[in-house]
Subunit: 267 residues, 4 copies
Amino acid sequence: MTNKALQRTYEILEGTTNDKVTKAFQFFIIALITVNVIVVIIETEESVLDEYGYLFTPFEIFSVVIFTAEYIGRIIVCKLNPKYQNSKFGVLRFVFTPMMLVDLAAILPFFLPFVVTDTRFIRIIRLLRLFRLFKLARYSDPMQTLGQVFKSKAGDLAVAFFILFIVLIFASSLMYHAEHEAQPAVFSSIPASMWWGIVTLTTIGYGDVYPITIPGKLIAAGVAVIGIAVYAIPTGIMASAFTEELRKKKASTNNTCPHCGKDISHD
Amino acid sequence: MTNKALQRTYEILEGTTNDKVTKAFQFFIIALITVNVIVVIIETEESVLDEYGYLFTPFEIFSVVIFTAEYIGRIIVCKLNPKYQNSKFGVLRFVFTPMMLVDLAAILPFFLPFVVTDTRFIRIIRLLRLFRLFKLARYSDPMQTLGQVFKSKAGDLAVAFFILFIVLIFASSLMYHAEHEAQPAVFSSIPASMWWGIVTLTTIGYGDVYPITIPGKLIAAGVAVIGIAVYAIPTGIMASAFTEELRKKKASTNNTCPHCGKDISHD
Amino acid sequence: MTNKALQRTYEILEGTTNDKVTKAFQFFIIALITVNVIVVIIETEESVLDEYGYLFTPFEIFSVVIFTAEYIGRIIVCKLNPKYQNSKFGVLRFVFTPMMLVDLAAILPFFLPFVVTDTRFIRIIRLLRLFRLFKLARYSDPMQTLGQVFKSKAGDLAVAFFILFIVLIFASSLMYHAEHEAQPAVFSSIPASMWWGIVTLTTIGYGDVYPITIPGKLIAAGVAVIGIAVYAIPTGIMASAFTEELRKKKASTNNTCPHCGKDISHD
Amino acid sequence: MTNKALQRTYEILEGTTNDKVTKAFQFFIIALITVNVIVVIIETEESVLDEYGYLFTPFEIFSVVIFTAEYIGRIIVCKLNPKYQNSKFGVLRFVFTPMMLVDLAAILPFFLPFVVTDTRFIRIIRLLRLFRLFKLARYSDPMQTLGQVFKSKAGDLAVAFFILFIVLIFASSLMYHAEHEAQPAVFSSIPASMWWGIVTLTTIGYGDVYPITIPGKLIAAGVAVIGIAVYAIPTGIMASAFTEELRKKKASTNNTCPHCGKDISHD
C-alpha cells in the first residue's frame, strides 16, 4: 500500500476526518454491529431459528470477514497514530488497548472452533459474540459517558462495593445461623444465604428465599433498614457522577464566553 | 358568525381572558373530562356495568357531542391565534399540535366504528378513549410541569435509556446462557430473558422468574449490584429535574424584590 | 381554681417553663403514651392476651382518666394562651387545633361505646386508640420535623402525587386491556389492575399479580422504566426536604458568628 | 523486655512507622483475617467440610494463637500510647475501646467453651468468630469511612429511624385490622403484621405476605406511596454523607496549592 492509501485508511478507520466516505464507513459498521446484536438475540427464539435459521450462517461469515478486515486494518495503520508511533512495542501496546481486545473478542468465536475441539469450551466461546455489542462503544457517546463515569468514580465505587461486600457477608452469616435449622434446604450454607442477602439488600425480593422464624425476621428487618441505606451508596454515586459528566460534556461543547466570544474552557 | 362572536369564542376556548364565562367553561370541560375518565375506569367493573350500564351510552354521546363541538370550535377560531394567523398552512399546523391530536384521539373512538368494521381494530380504538385523560393537560399545571421536565431533560434521558438498554441486553443474554438448560421454559430465549432483566434491574422482583443455578445466581448478583446503580440514573435525572422545574416556576411567579417591589427575575 | 393555680397548670401542661415538675409531668405523659402504644400492639398477640389480658382493662381505664383530665385541663387553661385569649371563639378554635383533635381521638374509643351500640362501628372506633401514638408529636422533635417537611413541601408533593395518579391510571388501564383476557380473575377490572400498578410502580413486586402475555410484559417493561422514574419524584422531594429541615434546625440552634459571637440567624 | 524492644513492638503493632517489618506484619494480619473470614463462610458448605474439614481445627488453633498474642501484645505496649499513658485507668480504658473489644470477641469463641458447658450458648458464641471480619476495620479505609458516616450523621439517622418506626407501627396496625379476619394466619397480630410492614416499606416485597381484601389493598397503596418516601430519608442521608466524607478525605490528602505548593487546607 502506498503511504497515501495508508493515510486515507487511517483517517477512515479512526474517524479523524469528517468526510462522506468516513461517515458512510462508520454508518455501515454501526449498522452491521446492530444487526449482529439483534441476530445474537433473536436466534435464541426457536420460531425465528426455524424460519430464518438458514440466513444466519452466511450473515455470520459476512460479518466476520468485515470485522476481521477492520481488525487487521486497524493494526496495519496504527503506526500512523502518534500515540503508538515512536514506541518500540507500539503495535503490541495498541493490540492490548480495551477497544482492540473487544474487536478481537468479536471475531474469535468464529475462528477458535477451528483450533479447539472441546464442545463445552466452544459453547462458552460463542457467548463472546455478545461482545460485538461493545464495538459500538467506539461510536456511542452514551457508552463512553458511562465508561468515564466508572473511570472517574472507580475509587469511590470500589470503596462502596467493598462495604457492600462486608455488609453482605455479615447479614448472610447472621441469617444462616438464624434460619439454617428451620429451612436447611434454602439456607444450606453461608454462601447459599448470600443469595438471600443480595436479593434482600438490593430490594429485589423475588420471594424464593425469605426468613420464616422470628429471629430470622428480626435480623432481616434490621438488615433491610440499615443495609438498604448502605446499598444506596453506589446508586447515589453513579447517579450524581453521571449527571455531572453530562453537564461537563455540555459545558465543553459550549465553552466560549457569551460576552466576548473567547474560549473559556478550563476544566 | 360575526367577527365579535368569533373573537369571544376564541377568548373562551383558549382561556386568554379571566372572566366568569371563560372560567365556567373551563370548569365544565375539566369536570366532563374527569367524569369521562372515571367512567372509562369503572365501566370495566362488572357490578357497576350491570347496575349503571344503561347510563354509559347516553353519557358517551353527550360527551362526544361536547368534545366534537369544542374540537371544531378550536379549529374555526385558530386563525385568530397570532401563531397560526399569517402562515399559509396555519390551520393544518394547528391541527397537528400535540394537544389537538389528543383532542382528536378523544373523539375518534366514537366515530371510527362507523367507518371501520374489523372488530379487533374497534376494540383497540376504544382504548383511545383513555386519551381523554390527557385533555386535562391543557388545564393542569402538574402535567405541564412533567411535560417540561421530559422536554428539558430529553437528551439526558435518551442517553440514560440507551445505556439501560445496553445493560439489559448484556445481562439478559448472560442469564439466558446460564439458565436456559436448567429452566428451558422460563429462560426460553434472550427476548424472554429480558423480562427477567427488566423485573430485576428495576428491583420489582415479582418472583415469576429467577435464577436457580449457581452461575445464574452469581450473574444475577453482579447484575443486581452494578445494574441497579445504572438503572438509578434516569430516576435521579427525573427527580432533580422535577425539583428544579418547580423551583423555577415559584421563582417566576414571585419575582419582585420584597423590599422595593421591583422585578428581580433574572433566571 | 385560683388564678395562680391556673397559671401553674398552664405552665406545666403547655411546657412553657423548664422546672422539675413540668419535666416530670412530660416524662410521665410520654411514658404513659409509649406504654399505651405497646399495649395496643401486643394485645393483638393471642399468647400475650391469654396471660396478661386481665391487666389491660384496668390500665385502659387508668390511661383514659389521665388523658381525659389532661384534655379537660388543656381546655380550661387555654384562655391563658395569648393566641386564643382575645378571640371570641378562642376556646372553640383551640379545640379544633390538630393536637387537640388527636387528644380527643385518643380518649373517644373509651367513651363512644356508651353512646353508640352498632358493634361494627365500635370495632372501627377502637382503632382510634392508635392515635395515642400521635400524642407523642407534642414532645417529639423528629415527628415535628416530619410534619414541617410535609407542610413546607405540601404543594410540591401534591403536584407529584397528582402525576403519580395520572401515571397509575394510564398504566393500569393499558395493562387491563392487555391482560384481562389471559387472566380474567386477576385483571378483572381497571380498579383491580391498579393494585398491579401500585405494586409495580413502587417496585414492591409481591408477585401476586404480574403480566403473562407478551403485550402485557412489554407494557410492564415500559411502565417500569419510565413510571418508576416518575414515582421517585416524591421520594426525592421528601429526602431533600428532610435533610434541609434538619440543617435549618441545627443552624437555628447555633446562630452566632464564630468570630464576633453576634447573632447571625437570618433564615 | 527492654524498653527498646517494647518501643519497637508498639511501632509495629500500632503501625506508627512505615518500615518493612511493620508493613509485613500488617499484611500478614490482614491475610490471616481474610482467610479466617473465608473459612467461617465456607465451612458451612457441607461438601467443603467433608473434604477439607480436617484442616479447620489446626488453622483455628493457629489463628487464635496469633490473635491472642496480638491482643496481649497490644495491652502490654498500650502504656507507650500518649492517650493512655498518664491516666490511672489507662489500660482499662484501652481494653474497652471498640477495636480492642472486637479483638477480644475474635478470640473468645475459642476460650469460652472451656469455661461454659451449655451447648446452646456455645453455638451462639461460635457466631462471634464472625467478628474477626471487623478486625479488618483497623486497616481498612472504607470501613473507617462508613464508621465516620454513621458517627457524623448519628443524630440525623436516629431521627429518621424513629420516624420509620412510627410509620411502621401505624401502617402495620392499620393493616392488621384490615386483613386479620381474611388472613388470620398471616396477619395474626400487629407484631406479625410488622413483618409485612418492613417488607413493603423497604420495597423488598418477597410475596409471602400481602393484603387480599379491598380495604387492605387501599391501605397498602397509601402506605406504599407515602411510606416509601419516608423510608427513603435514611437512604438519602447515608448516600450524601458518604459522598461528602469521601470528598473530605480527598481534600485532606491533597491540600497543597498546585501552583506554589503551600498548604491550603482550611476545612
